[in-house]
Symmetry: C2
Subunit: 346 residues, 2 copies
């Protein structure tokens, strides 16, 4: 069973394949009648365009490559939803890959993207990314790149769409302080990543601004898995039983902390208030529901995709004008922090 090509259509209609090509692309140089004949014959033969050939000739693939650490994380999947929405509207295909937090895989994916001639790349880097050669190569090849959320600290000149992590952290910690916490710990993320640095800084600065000490002992960095939250909470409480608040740089670790607190009979938020980051679906289901910071993933995805497409289109006219788009996060108050309860009394 052979696949039909434009040449077969051409032969069947006794016209040239170039005319068939133009007809299929609705080019004005082809007569309406001819177009109709071509369309019908194409349908009849079950013609499927070969994008490999088309893209080879045009030297672009009409495809956007997306790399995220893990598609299963809710935040990233909302980002992808946003990306697909815009890409679809603009007629681009989207190819999704996951780095699984490994630079090695990140590099492989990039190679693959280049070899398949994607028109642009959207990426959220892996934990351990400290080498960005593979990303700079992209630019050398004229493939625009936009970072989403997780971006490298060391790259100054690049496109990025991020949220104001610093502000989000400030609001979260401010909220904890306002609800009466005096000794607030921080579950920090890998300090390779700017986002986690900013959240930490927001935490420290807000404490200081409120005349509270920012003690290094109360700051523990990890990969913020659920078990990390569980264990860190345990270790911290052992040494500092008077901790009455936790600002976790993500929701998963916060959930782990709640799990530990429940296990030892401590009440959230009565004994300890907890605030997470991301507004993961878990945060709504956990008991008590978790106060957290919404990151507007879909919005980020949309904005990033728009910026990328803009770059792809203007690529040839002018040199890159790097842009940074910063969105504002939003604190979502639920019951894991005292503020909500106090307010309820009113």
């Amino acid at each position: 069973m052979k696949k039909a090509t434009i040449h077969e259509i051409a032969k069947a209609l006794n016209i040239d394949s170039s005319t068939v090509s133009r007809a299929l692309n609705n080019n004005s140089r082809v007569a309406k009648k001819t177009k109709e004949k071509v369309f019908n014959k194409a349908k009849e033969l079950g013609y499927k365009p070969n994008l490999l050939a088309s893209n080879l000739r045009k030297n672009r693939s009409n495809t956007i490559g997306v790399v995220v650490p893990r598609i299963s994380r809710y935040f990233f999947s909302t980002i992808i939803a946003g990306i697909e929405e815009v890409a679809f509207k603009e007629g681009f295909n989207v190819v999704i890959s996951q780095s699984l937090e490994q630079v090695k895989r990140e590099k492989k994916i990039m190679d693959n993207f280049v070899s398949n001639r994607v028109d642009g790349v959207l990426m959220s880097i892996a934990w351990e990314s400290n080498d960005f050669q593979h990303l700079q190569n992209l630019e050398g090849l004229g493939i625009p790149l936009v970072f989403l959320d997780r971006h490298p600290a060391s790259l100054e000149s690049c496109n990025k769409v991020i949220i104001d992590d610093y502000k989000g952290a400030c609001e979260a910690v401010d909220h904890l302080i306002k609800s009466g916490c005096k000794k607030i710990a921080h579950f920090a993320g890998p300090q390779f990543l700017e986002i986690y640095k900013s959240r930490l800084k927001g935490y420290s600065d807000t404490l200081k601004k409120n005349k509270l000490k920012s003690e290094p002992k109360l700051i523990v960095a990890s990969h913020l898995m659920k078990d990390d939250g569980f264990n860190i909470m345990r270790d911290l409480l052992e040494k500092h039983p008077d901790i009455d608040g936790v600002f976790s740089a993500n929701d998963e670790a916060a959930v782990g902390a709640i799990k530990f607190l429940k296990k030892i009979g401590k009440k959230v938020p009565e004994d300890i208030s907890i605030v997470g980051f991301s507004n993961d679906p878990l945060s709504e289901v956990v008991e008590p529901p978790l106060t957290t910071v919404d990151q507007f993933g879909a919005e980020m995805g949309k904005k990033a995709c728009e910026l990328l497409i803009q770059n792809i289109k203007h690529q040839k006219d002018d040199p890159f004008q790097y842009q940074t788009i910063i969105l504002s996060p939003k604190l979502i108050e639920r019951e894991s922090s005292r503020g909500v309860i106090e307010r309820r009394i009113n």
Copy 2:
């Protein structure tokens, strides 16, 4: 900035591009010395193979297309993890797309896969899929297809990797009965899909086997979102306040039901036992932790990918030999059903 091609390498070394091609592919017809020269020059020029050209010539892409309803659902993301593991080992690339439960998108994705000449397709169909022309076209084009979990009821001759939903449902309902439930409701999924039919059948059959009536009024079909669970629980209890058990065809709806029960002050599992399906991360976090049925997504992904690759490789030798691989699910007992508690007493 132009991308290097094998022709540039050839010119630089004063040899033919065919030799360069063979050298890069480590063909035995090329002398070791020449290969080295080629490799070095390739690196020097920053050569990146153009897979569009290569694939066009070879008429295959070394790529497997995957379609799932939503990558953000935990179950599907574990499936994808399994797929990627096997594909990677066998040297295939994986392209992931989401249908978002829309047949329209499913068709578009398929067209795109065909146009990009994927070597095979793995798919889990959308809710509303009732037209399978686009899938049968694949076969016509000689592109092997393996269904994963969600498969069309109407297609007899096809490859599929599924779990024994019937058995899983039987075990779940059996568990509810053993823990003392007398009036068990079922949150059913869209009956277009075999998997939900099987779960319903397992539910009904198990009730009958245990001399309990299977009442149509206690069976409510929906898309099993969290709100569905919430609302269905409310409506059911209104008419049948003596319901003491629920078997939900997924975890999300079960979580919604728990939420409603909590709201009206009913205790789980003391007043009503609840069992879900899928072993979603939510099920562990919700309060009380949800008894559910594990579907071994990663295992399914692996098996399906292996089956597909086998099909791709043997494609030319023999005609398709359709296979069905059925995995066994496993009941995970947690605290949302009475069984666990009773056992604790011992």
